[in-house]
Symmetry: C2
Subunit: 655 residues, 2 copies
């Protein structure tokens, strides 16, 4: 066969053929794109696909935010990545957590566990509200603070080591705190007393309220914690004052921007009831505005008392400070401030109503004494004079977060969804929509408790993602017994309607969580602790007077030095370990057979473990972190000799 | 402009135009398919993609296996799904874990924590080797058993409730156990003593070995636990016997199939050394074969002693049972049996060698007394007479698993990979390859400790997936401080080369893990506990003689009944809670402010919490599980009255 190339050339040049080629091309593209191409919806051909095969470091290089999730009864934090929804770590704080080596055998942990007034070692806790350190109202990535609801403790966690390193205890109370919030420059934190108390007689007298332990009326208030948190500060915390009054408070915020200088909090029990049903006794409760300068002035003016337990903490009566309140429908809880500090959104959780209070209007109403009466000497701001909006949005509203585009997101426990609402006022130019109307509904599985948008409680939300922290998960994952873990659901909110991207389970029980950009954390994360130039030489010392054996022990792959020591039965043993490792991820452990001791030691860490050698005989200790191929041989012996057999010849000596 | 339709029709009909259309179509398809279409390799267009948007229940409906991962120093289990690699839950066992309500304030937990001989409450543990219940060598989905290395305890976990419900303690030892294995019909389990001991004088005399507590030689052995685990059994465990001898043992297996009737274990310290370096003193150690019938015969023949601590547990000398051993290169650890029971693969962890011992050859060598000498009265099987293969595969071999296609997988700590090797003998017909040669290498990040294939230690591996449990994760996820969590890597092994599908992090520190098909677990999972027809009526009882207050409390959304009770200071308080919930996922909690008490109560559960009311005053208790919109109001008061103020009028009465 021969080809008439001239004819072909001519044919190719005709417009009809060119058109035909183009038509064919388009039909081909469309056919492949629509008919032959895999279904992008069901196959998930999106930016959130994971690659197949998976390259190593995929998860480390694609995450955009860290999420620090309050652990609730876990007692510390869970940490995960967004959008990977990959669990990263936990940060134990208020509860013993052996997995993380967080046990009171370590004196540093024991010190954080120890009630400073009673000496009790408290190994249980209930972390609630995390609050990132911030500068000018914007997250600065230095620390995250969190409170323990059961005991009224606050901890500071360094975002370099992911470890708690200071705990302060609130005096004069018996636990039962709730809302916690750090101020816009990490100079002050406020911690609310949720569970009403019978305080010290001195406090009762100062308030002029006599409290009967059975019948009340109980009193409550909030704690002010001074933090050395301005730029250059080391984050040291000190309880500075307590304001006490007739009402308990649950959620707390320290304002910024328009609301700068004010502590804003709620009460769901303005009825001052002592059991659940009467706490729903009237159709409204209050949102409170406390002027911080007036608290400082009360102290400067000497209008305070102190207690024997806390001689340095000023106890102030609500009557001696500037405070206002406004009515909010039945049992409010959620309380969140928009990025500029202008709007305070709060929800009556036993209603369908979300109220937007305008701080500019509040300040004007205060200025003009626009009150509609008072209760227990506190002026009530006229409802209509301070509300920007009252929205009927759905059943069981909980918390509110804000994005970077002028939207508020409200979580609903009963409706099992979150609703997106454009903010009014100056935010309208961001979104160009009619404000205060629902524009999107994000379905949740199921029963949202808290919600989070990175930076969503600050002057600079980062937006992009919304996380629903659901209290019920039921059928979301494989069944796993009667105790069902929580679910976190990730939505993309760069688009409307928002899109559900992923779901993950976490252990019991996350509360409020904060997301922060990866770029603010990773440069400061420490992989190893720096060893001092000289470390303790390995040795064993016997203190006969105090009946203490001090063991100075080097720990390195894969030996303990010394790997044998003797101790008279009944003595205290202090093992002072120095990890001579300087390689990342080479954590060792020290478990003592039959001795209820099990802890970890990170690379370069210096750590002490203390216990009583109460059982005689040979007790092996071993590294329970798989540290090297020779890991199982990394063990040694503690030989406990009965005191009546002990003599100085049994003392360990370097061989 | 007019169109010459005739000309168009003619032009359309020409072969050149038709060809042009076809060419265009093909170019279009190819262009879109190759150039314009998203890169399917990097975008992950595979069966493992997640859909976008994500439909609810995606993760619940796509998982194929549950993974039960031994938690190590976490003290229990982690549970996740495969292939989702989604964390599902944890199962606390040997260590206090407040997140899961697993605290000794609950007498059932305290009972499991209590050393039966000393009464000590042991709140730390180190879970090591899980072992699924099985029938005829095949997983049957009833229970999973696991041991605590620190204390020599074994627990049974029901795979219906995902909760531990029985713990047995090994007598005569001071902890330091390691390998644990359940027999092919869940009738017997074996638990090795890894850390050499100074046993009771009775045992020393029976063995004819006098042990000096400082200089040794120490002795060890293994425990036999009888289980009521044949079909219809309730899983009750009882320590039946201990075999003691000169050597410690680490990994343990009870054989099946070809190796039925034998306990097979290893020792990395056949040197009987007392510190790490000399444990590497000689170039070989041993693999041991213990005839189970000979242990039973020794007991029947009265060749045992008992101790004062455990009068019901027969202590047997290694000299009175049938035992053989064979040399394995330097410090073996991994020890795994192929699905038919024929091959025992073991690795010298300080070498590059994997040895395949053939059980048929072992039985023949025993039959023909083919020994190459003996040590401490134990015959040594002639090396060449029992080895099917000795493979030089890589640095730092750890453990071995098997798939359903006749392949063995070996993990390497130093090489940071796993190698796939076809088995010989009867397995050749499955894979048709030359046996005992590496056919695939699975890269790990980094330093594999344990590995797992669903069913991979049983007579019926399910295959399909391989999980590398890496000891180092370093850069796999976002950095999170000096304590870096572990990584689990999922590979598809339905194809060769295997493909890395996903990576996940888990808390410290997973050891061996077992995967089981979803279909064997989900039908039996309980979402709620069934309440008895009559439950305790709510009330408070005062026992003046014993100084105990019993509070019978109903718990239901969202009230405690009673929500107030009084107690004289110093008395014990027993709160007997009944959850009246019968809805899935409605778990409540009981936290007592200032009282170090924090626990959970699942739907339909009946649970007691005991503590001493040592602090006077008003102490709120509250539900710390977000259980309903009225959750925060779900609280009540314990009022502790000093004894000198107490009188019967303070007694709580129904109002």
């Amino acid at each position: 066969m021969t080809i008439d190339t001239q004819a072909v050339r001519k044919a190719i040049l005709t417009p009809v053929v060119i058109t035909s080629l183009i038509v064919g091309l388009l039909v081909g593209v469309i056919t492949f794109g629509i008919v032959l191409r895999p279904d992008v919806t069901s196959m998930g051909n999106s930016q959130y696909n994971r690659p197949y095969p998976m390259p190593h470091q995929y998860w480390a290089t694609t995450d955009e935010f860290y999420m620090f999730a309050s652990g609730g009864q876990q007692g510390g934090f869970y940490v995960y990545g967004i959008p990977s929804m990959k669990y990263l770590s936990e940060i134990p704080i208020f509860a013993t957590d052996q997995a993380w080596g967080w046990t009171p055998e370590n004196p540093e942990v024991r010190n954080m566990f120890t009630n400073p007034w009673t000496g009790e070692i408290v190994e249980r806790g209930d972390t609630h509200h995390p609050s990132m350190s911030r500068t000018d109202g914007v997250y600065d990535g230095r620390w995250i603070f969190i409170n323990d609801k059961m005991y009224g403790r606050v901890a500071r966690v360094g975002l370099d080591t992911f470890r708690a390193d200071e705990v302060v205890w609130m005096p004069n109370i018996t636990g039962g705190v709730h809302g916690f919030s750090v101020g816009p420059n990490t100079e002050l934190a406020v911690l609310n007393i949720e569970h009403e108390q019978v305080p010290d007689q001195v406090i009762q007298e100062h308030l002029g309220i006599e409290v009967d332990r059975i019948n009340g009326p109980y009193v409550a208030g909030f704690n002010g914690i001074a933090i050395d948190g301005l730029p250059g500060g080391d984050g040291t915390m000190e309880v500075a004052w307590q304001v006490w009054g007739p009402w308990h408070h649950d959620m707390a915020r320290i304002g910024w921007g328009v609301s700068d200088g004010w502590i804003i909090n709620t009460s769901y029990n303005s009825e001052r009831a002592l059991s659940a049903v009467p706490m729903f006794g009237r159709e409204y409760d209050y949102l409170y505005f406390w002027n911080i300068a007036s608290i400082e002035k009360a102290i400067a003016d000497g209008k305070y008392v102190t207690t024997e337990q806390a001689p340095d903490v000023a106890v102030i009566s609500w009557k001696d400070v500037e405070v206002y309140m406004t009515k909010i429908p039945l049992n409010p809880h959620g309380l969140d401030i928009s990025p500029t500090g202008k709007y305070i959104l709060t929800s009556g959780k036993a209603t369908t109503l979300i109220v937007a209070v305008d701080m500019d209007m509040v300040l004007e109403a205060i200025e003009s004494s626009d009150f509609q009466g008072e209760e227990l000497e506190v002026p009530i701001l006229t409802t209509d004079s301070v509300r920007a909006a009252s929205m009927d949005l759905g059943l069981g509203p909980t918390h509110i977060e804000f994005d970077n585009n002028g939207f508020a997101y409200v979580g609903f426990f009963v409706d099992s969804d979150a609703k997106t609402v454009p903010l009014g006022g100056p935010y309208i130019e961001k979104h160009g929509m009619e404000p205060w109307k629902v524009v999107d509904v994000l379905p949740a599985h199921y029963s949202i408790g808290h919600i989070s948008i990175p930076g969503g409680d600050s002057a600079q939300p980062y937006g992009k993602y919304f996380i629903a922290m659901n209290k019920l998960a039921k059928d979301t994952f494989l069944p796993h017994g009667p105790l069902i873990t929580e679910s976190h659901e990730l939505f993309s909110i760069d688009e409307q309607p928002a899109v559900l991207i992923d779901q993950m389970a976490l252990g019991p029980e996350t509360h409020y969580s904060q997301g922060i950009p990866v770029s603010m954390i990773t440069p400061n994360v420490r992989g190893v602790y720096t060893l001092p130039a000289e470390t303790e030489p390995p040795r064993v010392e016997y203190d006969y007077e105090n009946q203490v054996t001090d063991v100075y022990m080097d720990v390195v792959r894969s030996w303990f030095t010394p790997d044998m020591f003797t101790v008279p039965q009944g003595w205290q043993v202090n093992i002072h370990m120095t990890s001579q490792e300087q390689a990342m991820d080479i954590t060792h452990g020290l478990a003592v057979d039959n001795y209820n001791v099990n802890t970890s030691i990170d690379p370069g860490e210096i750590k002490t473990i203390e216990f009583i050698a109460d059982k005689d005989g040979v007790h092996w200790f071993y590294c329970m972190w798989f540290c090297s191929e020779l890991h199982m041989e990394m063990r040694g012996r503690m030989i406990v000799i009965p005191q009546d057999e002990w003599n100085a010849e049994y003392e360990w000596s370097p061989s």
